[in-house]
């Protein structure tokens, strides 16, 4: 390709690069927006169904359990199923773009994206009701574990579960901590610019 512009002028180089004429018709845009909304509603619907299946399964198990602690555990787990379905129900009408999601200045938007990433684990924990899930599982597993103390061979069955849990904890928590620290550092760097704007 013949060089029409001096290679040492970045602005000319940037502005005269080849671009494609990209434009979407109004119909195409509407169709895309509807597809997006439909997809998000379907996803929410699947989660509602999954939550209800969990609810039915744990309620059945609850009614069959004889001991108190596992019974409460299955009760908590069936409540968790309902909670998951409820959270998905709340999400179902939120498929549309929030007005401030794209209209803030880029600094505000960047900061809010970083904060969202930083708080993601906390958010996911609350949204998925993982407190109910882990509490329920503990109430089901711990009594069985205590029982197996009398029969060490049964205890062996729990070993793979606890090994995997330990590996997950050893990898997940330090990674999360490091990621949060990095994001926090970046948010604080942005704070310097925001401070500069106020002064």
């Amino acid at each position: 390709m013949p060089s029409e512009f001096p290679v040492n002028d970045p602005r000319n180089i940037w502005q005269n690069q080849h671009t494609e004429a990209f434009k979407m018709s109004a119909d195409e845009l509407r169709r895309k927006a509807q597809q997006r909304e439909r997809k998000s509603r379907f996803e929410a619907a699947y989660t509602i169904i999954a939550g209800l299946i969990l609810f039915v399964f744990f309620t059945r198990t609850f009614s069959r359990a004889h001991e108190l602690a596992p019974r409460i555990g299955f009760g908590v787990l069936s409540f968790w199923g309902i909670y998951v379905a409820y959270q998905a129900c709340k999400r179902i009408w939120h498929g549309r773009l929030a007005p401030d999601a794209t209209l803030n200045t880029t600094l505000q938007s960047y900061r809010s994206e970083l904060e969202k990433r930083r708080d993601y684990a906390q958010y996911i924990w609350r949204e998925a009701g993982l407190t109910f899930c882990f509490l329920g599982m503990a109430l089901v597993i711990v009594p069985a574990l205590i029982k197996s103390l009398d029969a060490p061979r049964l205890m062996v069955n729990f070993v793979p579960f606890f090994v995997l849990l330990a590996i997950w904890c050893a990898v997940f928590f330090p990674m999360r901590k490091r990621n949060r620290r990095k994001l926090q550092q970046e948010i604080e760097e942005l704070g310097v610019f925001e401070g500069g704007n106020r002064s």
């Binding site: 600094l107 994206e113 704007n197």
Partner: protein
Amino acid sequence: MSQDSLYEQAADTYGSSLDRLARAYEFDPEARRDLLQEIHLNLWRSFAYFDLRCSLRTWVYRVAHNVATGHVIRQRRIRDRLVSIENIESMSGSDQGELAASQTEALERLSMLIQRLKPLDRQIIVSYLEEMDAKSISEITGLSPANVGMKVHRIKNILRRWFGEGGLHAK
């Protein structure tokens, strides 16, 4: 003006700029096309709220940069490797090498430089390359004009190092 006609006007006026902007955020052509589509879709949606609180150009660039920044932030592996303009400026001249021999090579080098930058710095360099002044960049980014001026000064230094004197052709 209706949402559709505002979008029409924006796409006609800033279509090429948006294509270039997408190139600043995504190297892979397939993914870039998806990003560009995402920008156009969000732009059209955003015009439902357009209330003339800023110019059409500021609005278009804000939406486009915000969508593209979200795209970069979601890619954690890439995000972790990004550096600031200050980092690049303080690096030794090892990046500079010889001046580019052709326009294509120069464009590749420029794209490579842009894609190493953190989103906020990337927004500033792209706006600078699109011939915007400090006030316009300030409206888009929300940084003070003084901060923008300082960043632009650093960008010019880097571009001079990477491209020779052309990096100083600033308004």
